[in-house]
Subunit: 494 residues, 2 copies
Amino acid sequence: MDKHNYHQLTRTFLRLSRFSHLASIASWDMFAMMPPGGSAARGEALAELSVLRHQILTDKQVGEWIANARQEDLDDIEQANLREIERHYQEAALLPESLVEAQSLAGSKCEHAWRTQRPANDWTGFSANLKEVVKLAREEANLRAAAKGCSPYDALLDKFEPDMTSARLDELFGEVKSWLPDLLKKAVAKQEQQALIAPQGPFPIADQRELGLQAMKELGFDFNGGRLDVSAHPFCGGVPEDVRITTRYDENELLSALFGVVHETGHARYEQNLPRSWPGQPIALARSTAIHESQSLFFEMQLGRSEAFLRRLQPAIIERFGMQPAFEEHNFVAWNQRVKPGYIRVDADEVSYPAHVILRYEIERALIDGEIEVDDIPGLWNEKMQAWLGLSTEGNYRNGCMQDIHWTDGGFGYFPSYTLGAMYAAQLFHAARTALPGLDEAIAAGDLTALFDWLRQNIWQHGSRFSTEQLIQNATGEALNADYFHQHLIRRYL
Amino acid sequence: MDKHNYHQLTRTFLRLSRFSHLASIASWDMFAMMPPGGSAARGEALAELSVLRHQILTDKQVGEWIANARQEDLDDIEQANLREIERHYQEAALLPESLVEAQSLAGSKCEHAWRTQRPANDWTGFSANLKEVVKLAREEANLRAAAKGCSPYDALLDKFEPDMTSARLDELFGEVKSWLPDLLKKAVAKQEQQALIAPQGPFPIADQRELGLQAMKELGFDFNGGRLDVSAHPFCGGVPEDVRITTRYDENELLSALFGVVHETGHARYEQNLPRSWPGQPIALARSTAIHESQSLFFEMQLGRSEAFLRRLQPAIIERFGMQPAFEEHNFVAWNQRVKPGYIRVDADEVSYPAHVILRYEIERALIDGEIEVDDIPGLWNEKMQAWLGLSTEGNYRNGCMQDIHWTDGGFGYFPSYTLGAMYAAQLFHAARTALPGLDEAIAAGDLTALFDWLRQNIWQHGSRFSTEQLIQNATGEALNADYFHQHLIRRYL
Ligand SMILES: [Zn+2]
Ligand SMILES: [Zn+2]
């Protein structure tokens, strides 16, 4: 039996992946290279390409090919690819073009205004735009929910984390809520006993860049297929064959740029090691946002801030920047593992980070499911920040509910990925340590080959072949278990 | 009467220009940023986009809209735009897709192999590939010639220089041939009387870059809409709203990178000052390759290597790199105006440059018109180099007929643009000097505003509104006249 319909689909998705390649590079350029004057023309060019990709993907022929391909004699790989193809198709085809366009306009407007409204602490201005974004996101969520037979919020969650539900999140985050406040208090109290010395700059940016490149090299980044550049917000972009990561530098802050690079290198190695046997096919893409984040947090938190890795990093820092009291070994390790609850999510340490995420998850779920309105956000935010971290955000929108970009263009359902990623990372690191005796000694000696081979074999090389659940089950022998994250925090911080 | 057909065309060309934007940025990236591993995927992505653009442009509806639009009530601008639209359509629609594809494959193959064959001096290997490229170029030329009713070579020439013919080139280049050998001999003899001191490096690359940026600034480059980067071969790319120029640096060679930047800044300012009132329309594009080159040579040769400009540049160089004997004013000016006939076109001074171009023109025209074959090229090259510059290229293919990239992917008809550009530049500079009394003093004082305003008003702002002939007639009061170039060379070099 021939696979005519399936092959029509693979040809179509190969073509789409080529257009997506150009969109990725042009977007990277927009953030890392483009002068301001190019902005309008670039926006129009990317929008035109996006319309084209949407048209190709949602052509009704694609739906017919999918229906027919299901009857064809496909092997395991092809079936998995067809499953992913269908997911992409459904995701795009479910929404009327008018809604997609309205969302894009409202999102751009809200995001653009937010850039000045946030520094001005202008909640009134911002909330007016956000209401429109939320209204459209609810429309989207309701359409998706009706098709999938789930709650509106779950339908948005599914875009980032296929098969994840808010019921499961409530369990997982519920566990975290049961132990985190106490753990956080103890970690802070323990650290208060030791006076830490902060590194003293300036650290010349050219040297920071060299240090970052050196770290990328040790972490196995393939420079034949990628670059390091600068952007206002660090990210990992490009395409698997040519991965572009960015960081930002501050002459007085050595370690934030460096750990930014380590984090993005985790994302990058996942991309660089995705399977190449199925060019342009959805099965060859990264599994999900949470699995992606698990790789960056594996690099940044599990590996990068481990005592073994920090002890190896310390002489390299001294060699490049000279000795100073902050670089004394004990202080250097402790400084990079310090816990410092604060207002800002992106500056948070790994112990307080889940508080920021769970707070946002609870608010956005209630918002999308229609239990609260935009006007309720600041009050809830303040209440939850008080409860979690003892910090008031009353009237401080800028460092409260206006701090993130995610909601401005309607990215509801994304936040849980950060903490899911941290959980997956802890579980994966535990499994790797079990599989690889002497791992800590190898890390201290700078020999990361076995660790990366383990990640390649268990995560990277599979792309989207398996569901997230199956992938984690295969890699660790069990389903997602938040206890590994808990144990990790206890071991490192108590 | 409504202009339905015309508006369908402008919408289509606006859409095409957005795809072309993405192609330009991705191509710039390929040469200035991309790591080698990204090459295959990028090539495929760009090819896919190129197929799409070809399909949109050659859709038979476009042909019908053009035919119908001719009956619509169009104003001058719209008529000029329609003329350009038709030119682009014809150029693309005349060739069967199979030929376009075969050319693209043969060109890539020949160009790719050339990169290693040239250093290996491997004419046998190269000529095998070139024969296929020439065969296909002749097919293209014959198809175009039949449609236009001209010779095959003229049909290719028309792609780069609309309305230019080999009969006219023979006249223009014939004039040059009548005076250039003697002028070259005299210029060399005159310069042999003075011993010049070469600048001594190293000149740190970071400082060279700063100097280039400073020159771009003085030359009016708009950094809000453009960048300077590095690539193996300097070029001007990007889009009018975001012009990307490149240069290459050699620690021991200060002035070649700098004048590369000055040259590309000429191209860039043309692009940056093209009309913005007709977004995405062909009428808003640069007039032709020769006019484009006239702007870069206006900047590099007419302005940049003039004594007035060099005298102004000299203190800036001393300030940045310190004094040395080569930077003494008289030596500095003379060094930047030295004439040094050699094998390599891209290294040629402005006096010997036309020899390189005319030689190539005569060979490629005979080749495309079927008067000679690929195997005849090395002999003819050697003969003409001996005659023009007294240099033998026998057996030296690398520095002879294998030195350029143009023929490798079938770019026949391009070479004349370089010398046409030099002629237009000389004629334009003469007209500007006539229109602007005190121009040399203004240049020496660094006040270039009036000069650039003149270029903007006479060339840049018109895009492709007028034919090249009309544009030059309007700007200078006469048709192209090679005598201005002759007079310029006499004044500067004798
Ligand atoms: Zn991340
Ligand atoms: Zn040029």
